[in-house]
Symmetry: C2
Subunit: 377 residues, 2 copies
């Protein structure tokens, strides 16, 4: 085994420049309760982009050098620098999740049992050739599952499961989901079909209506049609959904959903309530595909909420026991309910190219990269 390994880093300089590069770091040595994992597959998820790009304007990106020595540079808009204060001039490792093979293990039983096994990890710093991590954080893949198949065990699967669990915990009975043709959205459809939960999918293109109908979705509303609000109200009346998860964040969509929920609630109301329906209507924004301001008319009474939703605090809230149940469900259904697909497998060096940046800067297009940090090594 080499003495050093490559790791992708993102740094924002005080001067307002983003730099993405590969760092050569000492090969980690696992402690008693740790294992060393050779990372073979780690996806670039939308949730990785915040840390990776640090709000820089990637249309200004340039690349200096080549291969493992390439450095990507881009400008960070001045008005965003204030919010980035705490991360300035720090070289940060990136990559939320991935999978690989345990190549070295600490002396504890739990670590030794994983030797040679394929494991999936949610732990950050996964865009690296090697990741040293506590054995108990590893999710053991079932026999025959490859690192590529196990690469996306957490972010999308646990988020989709977390949406359904949040629905149950907060007393709702059906869901709305936007940007619903995404990898995550398709998973959510599979979960809801399996668990018999009503799901209203919102997409912007007819091809995505067809895609979701093709995998069995019952309610798919196209927000580009003039009939969108009416279609949405009909689906909300039928499903009774009063909770939405919105991946777009910006624009009018969150408000439109609350308005449609209010109309749906009033359609079945028996008497006029002066402050609108008393049914609590909630939209959680969990992504930011649309970076424009969020804007809404408050034409949906007073029983409503819009808020951020993030996987990690949710898992903290439900606690380790419930979290483990969700993890084990993912491991058991990794090639069915939670199967992911990718358009390209790339090396760490291949991430540091303008072509790659142009593609993963637009995840909504359907392009999805899987990094193999040990590709060709």
């Amino acid at each position: 085994m080499a003495d050093t390994a490559l790791e992708l880093r993102s740094e924002i300089k005080k001067e307002g420049k983003l730099e993405i590069s590969l760092a050569e770091v000492p090969m980690p040595d696992p402690a008693e309760d740790e294992v060393l994992v050779r990372v073979e597959a780690s996806p670039i998820n939308p949730s990785d982009l915040g840390l990776l790009f640090g709000m820089a304007d990637m249309t200004t990106a340039t690349v200096a050098g080549a291969g493992n020595d390439a450095v990507v540079t881009a400008d960070v808009p001045e008005n965003l620098m204030k919010a980035l204060g705490p991360r300035l001039d720090q070289s940060l490792a990136v990559g939320n999740e991935g999978a690989g093979v345990v190549v070295k293990a600490g002396s504890s039983e739990i670590a030794q049992e994983l030797m040679g096994k394929t494991v999936a990890i949610l732990g950050g710093a996964m865009y690296a050739q090697y990741r040293c991590i506590k054995a108990k954080q590893c999710l053991l893949m079932h026999d025959g599952v490859t690192p590529a198949e196990g690469a996306s065990c957490f972010v999308n699967p646990l988020t989709a499961l977390g949406m359904v669990e949040t629905m149950r915990l907060e007393g709702h009975t059906a869901l709305v989901h936007t940007a619903a043709a995404s990898n995550l959205g398709q998973m959510l459809n599979k979960i809801c079909m399996k668990d018999e939960v009503g799901l209203v999918n919102i997409v912007r293109k007819q091809e995505n209506v067809d895609l979701l109908k093709g995998i069995g979705a019952k309610y798919v509303c196209n927000s580009s049609l003039d009939s969108f609000i009416d279609d949405l109200v009909d689906a909300l009346v039928e499903t009774g959904a009063t909770l939405a998860f919105d991946a777009t964040g910006g624009g009018k969509l969150a408000g439109q959903i609350l308005t449609a929920m209010e109309i749906a609630a009033n359609k079945t109301a028996k008497e006029y309530s002066r402050y609108g329906s008393t049914t609590h209507k909630q939209v959680y924004i969990y992504g930011g595909l649309d970076r424009s301001p969020t804007t809404f008319n408050r034409a949906f009474g007073m029983a409503w909420g819009i808020g951020g939703w993030l996987l990690t605090p949710f898992l903290t809230k439900i606690g380790p026991e419930e979290t483990e149940k969700l993890r084990q469900r993912v491991a058991a259904e990794v090639n069915t309910t939670f199967a992911s697909s990718y358009t390209s497998e790339v090396s760490l060096a291949e991430v540091l190219t303008l072509e790659a940046i142009a593609i993963y800067g637009k995840q909504a297009t359907g392009e999805k990269y899987l990094i193999n940090p040990n590709k060709g090594m």
Copy 2:
């Protein structure tokens, strides 16, 4: 006692017209556990205007007839009619709260004990000469308190107390309040000073800064100044406030508050968190002084929420025992902490004039009407 009494009614016709008029209704007769109250004082609060005006455009208001026979008519914008569906063609009584004297009581002990007493009521339909209501819903005024002094025992006092209780229940330690020079805002300052709770007041005019400083407010930020965000951040750092109550609803203010809370949280953060500060930041919108769309950039991480807040569901949530404690505090401090003042005392007929509508259509100006339905009778 007469056989009939006057009551103010609001009705929206299917054709898109609002009508406000006085109805002559049979004098109610109290059941065993009820009392009949001669209403002598009932305020026009901002929270009454939704039911009273039904989203009609009051600049189109006209008056036909005069005195008790006057009928105010105004147009309801067509795009708002859908949301008003459940109240169409129903003549609705108006007036959330008020006070008066018990003139007739049912046979039960609890009702008989109130005979001749001055009581305050939160029950709706208070813009009426007489209100029949369950004895246990009445809040008995202490000796010597007049109906005019007890008219506003609930909406503003319980809302202000509800804000402080919400702060405690949801784990915050200090508050932000907008439109803070209002009657409610002044009460909130008095409560927070008494209870030693940090309070950041936001106002739009220097005269309101002076007003609040004059009653002892420590933190008052003027949103019209260029230094507003910096001033707000400083006050948030000093108080640690992570919960705001916003009376305006529209525009950018709610988002600015969340952004300032995020900056304040990051000022004390020890390491960079990729999704922003993990401190939950919350804004509750409880009013709609600004009817323009709510709009915000989501530059405040993922631990945030914006939602509607309304007194009645809050009281339901804390339950009857806690609610009674709050009511008794109001009764005890009605002439100190919870004292209200009004610019005019008007009769029911005087409400049905264009002059009155022009004034109470703009509560933010500081004009505040007190209706005495038995004025001159």
